[in-house]
Symmetry: C2
Subunit: 211 residues, 2 copies
Amino acid sequence: MEVKSIFDGIEDFELEKMLKCFEARKMTFKKDRTIVTNIINVKTVGIILSGTANMIRYDYNGNRSIIEKLETNSVFGEVFSRLGSDISVIATSDCEVLFIEYEHIIKRCKKGCSYHSTLTNNVLKLLSSKIVELNQRLEILSKRTIRDKLLSYFELLANDNPRRTFNLPFTYTDLADYLSVDRSAMMREIKNLKEEGFIKTNGRHISLMSY
Amino acid sequence: MEVKSIFDGIEDFELEKMLKCFEARKMTFKKDRTIVTNIINVKTVGIILSGTANMIRYDYNGNRSIIEKLETNSVFGEVFSRLGSDISVIATSDCEVLFIEYEHIIKRCKKGCSYHSTLTNNVLKLLSSKIVELNQRLEILSKRTIRDKLLSYFELLANDNPRRTFNLPFTYTDLADYLSVDRSAMMREIKNLKEEGFIKTNGRHISLMSY
DNA sequence: AAAAACTAGTTGCATGTGCAACAAAAAAGA
DNA sequence: TCTTTTTTGTTGCACATGCAACTAGTTTTT
């Protein structure tokens, strides 16, 4: 079975003890607020308990890139993004975030919390699926044309649905950032894809045509 | 301290017991031989004990992409690359590879091997640093021009050396694949960077100029 | 030692893409 | 409701990039 949360399989009463043992801090953030800036050298791991956020970067030309879309239950922190430039995590909806020192997760619990190994296990699986996601995005970004980037991303989204139909999980503006391409060029290419019969769109609802 | 190998901190005599318990299989591969093809659905994890390999993909246009450079001690397998297309791992030098069922790594050892938790810990750290690497490559690929891709990759390599000087870890041909750009266009851009005084090159030895 | 394979370096050309600058529609806020 | 902000959609233009096609040099294989 797939692990959804870092706390999967841990009973509530155990969880409470564990969080105290970890000195975990829970904070809430309104939409668009900054959860962390300058993520470099932060030895704290954040877990998004509810809501969503984006890990973004502004490079020296002022281009915004979405490094990572953080969904509920995502884990983020220094270890997950040692990058040279200006990284922040911005809430894209109201969020609850739990902060835990990284060492608590990586090390065996000295006090012997019985569910610690479950936690480690969960983190392992979450990290694995993060690697999968990163590889997926890499595959998309390694395409050389906007057309191929769009198609491989759409293909990914359509895979879940036998009717090869899906809803874009973000705005077209954000999609351009995610694909790391110019928005207007992307819109032009989407228009071409429509005219050539590869896709149909209705707002953010998109259908892939089978050949 | 940084974890180099999945077996860091595990005594030799323990290691031997552990590998038996895991039913680990060691295989050797000559340079350029295929270690695995069609990596999808492989429930086995490979650990490169010596040598190097590339995880590569040919997309439907026949373009080769290096998904990942696997150094000694790298871990690879299904979980680390769920991709739609044709993925293989190719030895770039003579290699020894250890294969272990993924389940053995993710689960607690039923027989209670005492060093199992060390192993888990090591895997966790290795996965974290893999995520870092993937994020680094993502940062590079998210640059929109060949120039910016080159410069941010060079910056990364130069960071280790105060003289801002380094050796390319692969051929220019492979560099183009790694950056996912056309080789001739890349060579052209390197020439421009030289002419404009941003870099100096001598074969694969490159120096970044400080402004 | 000769042949084959690979790597580095170049160029012309067509075109895909980034950029700037809009306008209209939709969504969010007051 | 009216106002403001965000998103979508479009276009002209300059130029960066992919592609094809070479040559020369280097390395590997036989």
